[in-house]
Amino acid sequence: MEQTTTDHDTGGIGRRQLLSAVGSSAVAAALAGCSTLLSDGETADQSEQSGGEISDEPIQAGLLTFTRGAPGVLGIQAQRGAELAVQRINEAGGIGGQREIELDVVNEGSNPLDSYNQFIEEGKEVTFGPISSGTHSQIAPEVEKNEVINVSTDGTVTTLYEETVPDPTYSFRFQNYDIMEVVTMAREAVERIGADNISTVAGVNPGYSFGEDEMRVFTQAIQRLTDAEIVYEGFPELGASDMANHITSINNEEPDVTFSSLWGGDVTTFVRQANANDMFENTTVFGTTLYSAAGDVPGDALAGTDIYSGSRNYYWGLPAPGNWQPGRELFDAATQQEGVTVPTAHYMSGYGAVTAWATAVEKAIDLLGTYPTQEQIAQVLEGHGFFTPAGYHNIAEDHQGASNSFAGQMVYDDDLGAARLEDVNTYAATETAPPPGVTGSDWLDSWSA
């Protein structure tokens, strides 16, 4: 595609400013979604690279994600995101202008630990993933022992860096974690309805640890922000075909807010049955991961609903610096890929995890003039900031990634043929995450009512 670049449609960013902003390398620019701003065929200034010091051996990387079944709804998004990031790195000449990445994807099925160990045995230089919180708790200590960096795509369990690996060296997490997405939705509820108008809250969350944790944190957060009482808590099994009893209870209680962390196919089931029973006349639903079903939930199910969903750290088209929309460009690239109707936050999980690592390695090469060791990359990743089409991200000293999070009303878009968010609010990480070194629950307890 021929594209002429003027200051007007880059929001006033020229090539030089752009390169210095994103870390002065072709890889960083490509990953930030700025490749269109670089003139054709031009990569970063190779003379600055100490190419002679770096081998041109491809980098072997592994990604652990769900490629099948119900969790595949999230897992394949992460896989495609990681694959696109790798493709962009390789098209920009590889890491350090020398080393392309070869990504090996393995299903995070029944034995994720074995799959992870196989990555290590095969001598992978970096691993990405996993999706599930349980898996992440399981492999994070192994990551520390093996001393090979893992940048996790999800596995957003709150206790990971509080209890499981309290002082990590090689384990990093790119995606906003559970407490951040829940606090986002608590703030969103207050934003949309007003704290004075929230006196009763219900919850319908998946019946396993993740859903129970989400509900507990939401309760804690909303009761700090409002005087609400919890009137109903339901925990349907994953893949439940009938949510009637939860919907009936909510219709009886008529809570001001119904919180839900359902995801994937469960969202469609719940929304369809809730709509059929006129539940949205009695409550407004606020959900953390409802939008993960964007490509799955049909238009007739969403018609006349009252749903606000978060989208963790990515919503295409946002942020829009000037008239230039890297997120929209990513949307177009993503929908060309197999199995992606709409790229959701889990797409960014994969894309961003690869980006975090790749931009850190580039920075390390710049500093050292040679290819860095695992320990050196880990040191650079601490406090590392970088761009993706979702905006600016930072990996804090506690190894937890921090990004803006997005929330808006979930509506069906006929032109898109899928759900989208309307009237999107953006929340900065400072509003949704505890400062490094403070546990989530201590932070929530410290809020002044």
Binding site: N117, E122, G134, P141, V157, S209, F210
Partner: protein, 382 residues
């Protein structure tokens, strides 16, 4: 030292109550050696993973325990994962809440917990036999699964780590090892435990206790009439079988340093363990162990080959069940189907055509039977 004895005219050796002919002794020594060199073999090949074989051996060991019930008392338990999971969760609870670091103590805890659990479940489910017993064991297994899933103290669906103390891992000989060394050392520990377990099981199968169990399995009423304490004996067998499950579960948890409900307590796990015993040959001592390795290996390799790996394992298992009705080990024995067929083939190679003709005929017969059944189902008998 082994002493020479005479067994029906052939010289044999007796050692610690195990009596073997020279040929059997050679097999035994080779088998033990093979178990010990598996880590070296696995390091040579990418497709052969030590952790997969290790896991197969652990589930197989649980199947060896289950086999005591299956082979002698003719009781089919669908809840053996309950003891596997109890052993696994006991180590996790001890590591997390009591800070126990030593692998030995963790395993003792697993044995104690599994013993208590088997004693309780045994008392409650052994009032019944046959289908009702099978369903009761299934129900108790699922009850434990539900408890593990629902208790946040047990980690819910996320499970619990077994990473006690400042070393953040269980200690062997009071020392923390790097992951790769730890994996090999725990494998050798497993081999030692399995050898001891097989020896104990062998002694049980050579004892009057086994004869009593056989009598009970054949005809309960008669066994009671000749004065055997039936209920007590079956309960003892049930507890022993549960202990094997608990030891396997405890080792599994210590090896993986993490335990989750679906890997250890879910009823499909019970089905796996039962299947391993049948697959390997439940009329043999080491069959269940081999069955465990084969099944886990099939599941693991199948995942790399095809998306429909369950289908693949299903087909392989069907072939095994139809072709080798006595299981893998049972069919390989002298007098088993494989040896008989091989000697026939050596005597008369043309026998191949007879076999293929027989196979075609039997397939035709089965198809005709199925069609008849289908017609009866659809149109009734007329």
């Amino acid at each position: 030292m082994p002493e020479r004895v005479d067994r029906d005219g052939t010289p044999a050796y007796r050692f610690l109550g195990v009596e073997v002919t020279r040929r059997e002794a050679a097999f035994l020594v080779l088998g033990i050696l093979f178990l010990f060199v598996i880590p070296d073999i696995a390091s040579l090949s990418d497709s052969l993973q030590l952790s997969v074989i290790h896991q197969g051996l652990l589930f197989g060991f649980a199947a060896v325990g289950l086999n005591l019930l299956l082979r002698h008392t003719k009781l089919t338990s669908f809840g053996h994962a309950a003891f596997f999971g109890t052993g696994a969760y006991a180590t996790a609870v001890l590591a997390r809440y009591a800070g126990v670091q030593s692998v030995g103590l963790l395993l003792l805890g697993a044995i104690a917990a599994a013993t208590v659990m088997a004693a309780i479940i045994g008392v409650l489910s052994l009032r019944h036999t046959g289908l009702y017993f099978a369903l009761l064991t299934l129900a108790f297994g699922q009850l434990l699964y539900a408890i593990a899933l629902g208790q946040s103290a047990l980690g819910g669906s996320d499970g619990l780590p077994i990473r006690p103390g400042p070393a953040n891992q269980p200690l062997l000989f009071g020392t923390a090892f790097s992951p790769d060394v730890y994996q090999v050392l725990t494998y050798y520990l497993t081999v030692v435990v399995i050898l001891i377990g097989l020896f104990v099981m062998y002694r049980i199968t050579q004892s009057p206790f086994r004869n009593a169990l056989d009598a009970i399995g054949q005809e309960r009423t008669r066994a009671r009439f000749i004065g055997l304490p039936v209920r007590r004996y079956v309960w003892a067998a049930f507890v022993i079988s549960g202990i094997y499950g608990g030891v396997a579960g405890g080792l599994y948890a210590v090896v993986r340093q993490y335990v989750r409900p679906e890997g250890t307590l879910f009823f499909l796990r019970s089905g796996d363990i039962l299947f391993m015993a049948i697959l390997g040959g439940f009329r043999t001592l080491v069959g269940p162990l081999i069955g465990g390795v084969v099944l886990v290996f099939l599941q693991d390799v199948g995942q790399d080959v095809t998306q429909y790996y369950e289908f693949l394992t299903g087909v392989v298992l069907l072939i095994l069940v139809y072709g080798f009705p006595r299981g893998i080990v049972g069919s390989l024995r002298s007098g088993g189907i494989v040896n008989t067929r091989l000697s026939e083939l050596r005597r008369e190679p043309s026998v191949l055509s007879t076999w293929s003709r027989n196979a075609v005929q039997s397939i035709e017969r089965k198809v005709a039977e199925s069609l008849t059944s289908l017609r009866i189902i659809l149109f009734g008998v007329d």
